[in-house]
């Protein structure tokens, strides 16, 4: 690991000031489960690290009349067991409970988790070509193992999958991220936070290098109760998704779907909202055929690589199963 300068400012204001005067290559450190991991692998080599992992201003979970407010420094484990979040935003709690292990959930922060880097094995191996890590070096997945790679949102330069779970559920609920930097505060809809690789796979999100996520806000919705996060993995626990779906539904007294939210994880280069699949469920009773159809629509644009075509059918079934589970939980 390359040497780096370390600071741990005691307030958000002090972090912003440190970011304002930061030397090039400075990174924000929170729980460390991504950044420190990648530093040990030689994939990340920051010149300086600003540690925000214990800033008291970034902790705290509150519920207002209109939204759930989550501090960016809240530990993942504190969300999955939260007595309000579990019943009223079931998909949010499940997305975290099904992520990583309890040890890592005790370490990782919500803000850091949103910006978790891809688990592409070629990105994580500093000796391999990778357009994301080393622009212009090529993509080893193109002729290598592409089983875990993205079916949606890939470019000719990169098909690395966005690995996180929490952002998928947040996307389904139209969450907003508040960030602060030397130019002040701004709010970014989660739907606009991450970007597809396109011509510049290095860029994964729209935050500037001197901006810090301070909180995540989730609008209250009845669909939170009728929601689920279904994650299909190579093993039952402690693995990244082969396919996942966050689904939230509202069903009226006549059994008609009146609100529909579907987002996909583990299959795309960014958290992926399946808008047309959502719309296909609206205004009609929820049937097994409708759930299957929503899955098929969600993956209509999927483009498999050489060895991962099976994940399209897996993804379709994941959506269909999640839609049915959300339907059972939805308010009637």
């Amino acid at each position: 690991m390359k040497p780096f300068a370390y600071t741990a400012p005691s307030s958000v204001d002090a972090v912003v000031e440190a970011l304002r005067v930061a030397q090039p290559g400075t990174k924000i450190l929170a729980g460390g489960t991504t950044l420190y991991d990648l530093m040990k692998l030689g994939v990340e080599a920051p010149s300086a690290v600003i540690d925000v992992h214990r800033l008291p201003e970034l902790t705290g979970i509150s519920v207002t009349d209109s939204e759930l407010v989550l501090g960016a420094g809240v530990r993942m484990a504190d969300v999955s067991d939260h007595p309000v979040i579990r019943p009223s935003y079931t998909a949010l709690a499940e997305s975290i409970w099904r992520a990583a292990s309890q040890q890592l959930r005790n370490m990782a922060t919500l803000g850091g988790n949103l910006l978790q880097r891809t688990r592409c094995g070629y990105f994580r191996d500093a000796d391999m070509p990778c357009n994301k890590r080393n622009p212009g070096s090529g993509c080893a997945a193109m002729e290598g193992v592409d089983r875990p790679h993205a079916l949606l949102g890939a470019s000719s330069l990169c098909s690395a999958t966005y690995a996180g779970d929490f952002a998928i559920a947040l996307l389904a609920f139209d969450a907003v991220v508040d960030v602060v930097g030397p130019r002040g505060e701004r709010s970014i809809p989660l739907a606009e936070l991450h970007v597809e690789p396109g011509e510049d796979p290095r860029r994964e999100h729209v935050l500037d290098v001197d901006e810090l996520i301070v909180r995540i806000r989730v609008p209250l919705t009845e669909a939170g109760r009728g929601s689920t996060y279904l994650k299909i993995r190579d093993r039952e626990s402690y693995a990244f998704a082969l396919a996942s779906a966050a689904v939230g539904l509202v069903i009226d007294g006549a059994g008609i779907v009146t609100e529909s939210r579907i987002a996909l994880g583990g299959v795309a280069t960014r958290p992926w909202r399946a808008v047309e699949a959502e719309q296909s469920l609206l205004g009609q009773p929820l049937t097994a055929a409708a759930a299957r159809r929503a899955g098929e629509i969600a993956f209509a644009a999927a483009r498999p690589g050489r060895t991962n075509e099976f994940r399209i059918e897996l993804g379709i079934r994941t959506v269909a199963d999640a839609v049915r589970t959300a339907g059972e939980r939805a308010v009637r």
């Binding site: 600071t7 991991d37 530093m39 540690d51 040890q103 890592l104």
Partner: protein, 162 residues
């Protein structure tokens, strides 16, 4: 390390390890795992993958389980660290969970056992032991190459019932 707004290449940290106050001058690159094993000679905590996959290095920070390989040691300033060495009683008597591992053949080679015990203790303290499925889920961050999982789950169940 109090409030430290000046970039540093070494960082002074004060914490407690197994109840004893410890002062360290750290290179910020050092992991808690390496500091425990190589500077404090607490070699009960094991280095398995060193990448956060296997859980062999599990310790408690202020009572919560973490993997020490992915914990920069500078982050434990002001915290209480507990390792496997703190689990046994003052006269060497086994903790009930350790005894349960013996009773249930919950190990073969034993390399993952310190991490399993630290994770199991936290699992019990968290109350995530309602049934075997919940125990398995909440111990999934601890890998056992020997495949002693049946015994491990039985041991945690036994200790949780006490």
């Amino acid at each position: 390390m109090s409030t430290n707004d000046v970039p540093a290449t070494t960082v002074d940290v004060t914490c407690t390890v197994n109840g004893e106050p410890v002062q360290l001058r750290l290179d910020p690159r050092e992991s808690l795992l390496d500091v425990l094993r190589e500077r404090l000679a607490l070699t009960g905590t094991k280095k398995g993958c060193d990448q956060g996959h296997c859980g062999a290095c599990t310790v408690h920070l202020d009572g919560r389980r973490v993997v020490s390989c992915l914990t920069p040691a500078v982050q434990v300033d002001g915290l209480q660290v507990h390792t496997i060495e703190s689990v046994t009683g003052p006269d060497g008597e086994l903790h009930p969970l350790q005894q349960a591992f013996v009773d249930n053949d919950a190990l073969q080679c034993g390399y993952c056992t310190p991490g399993q015990i630290m994770s199991g203790l936290a699992c019990i303290a968290e109350g995530h032991t309602a049934d075997d499925d919940e125990i398995r889920e909440y111990l999934s961050g601890n890998v056992c190459r020997c495949g002693a999982y049946v015994g491990i789950v039985a041991a945690v169940r036994q200790a949780a019932q006490r």
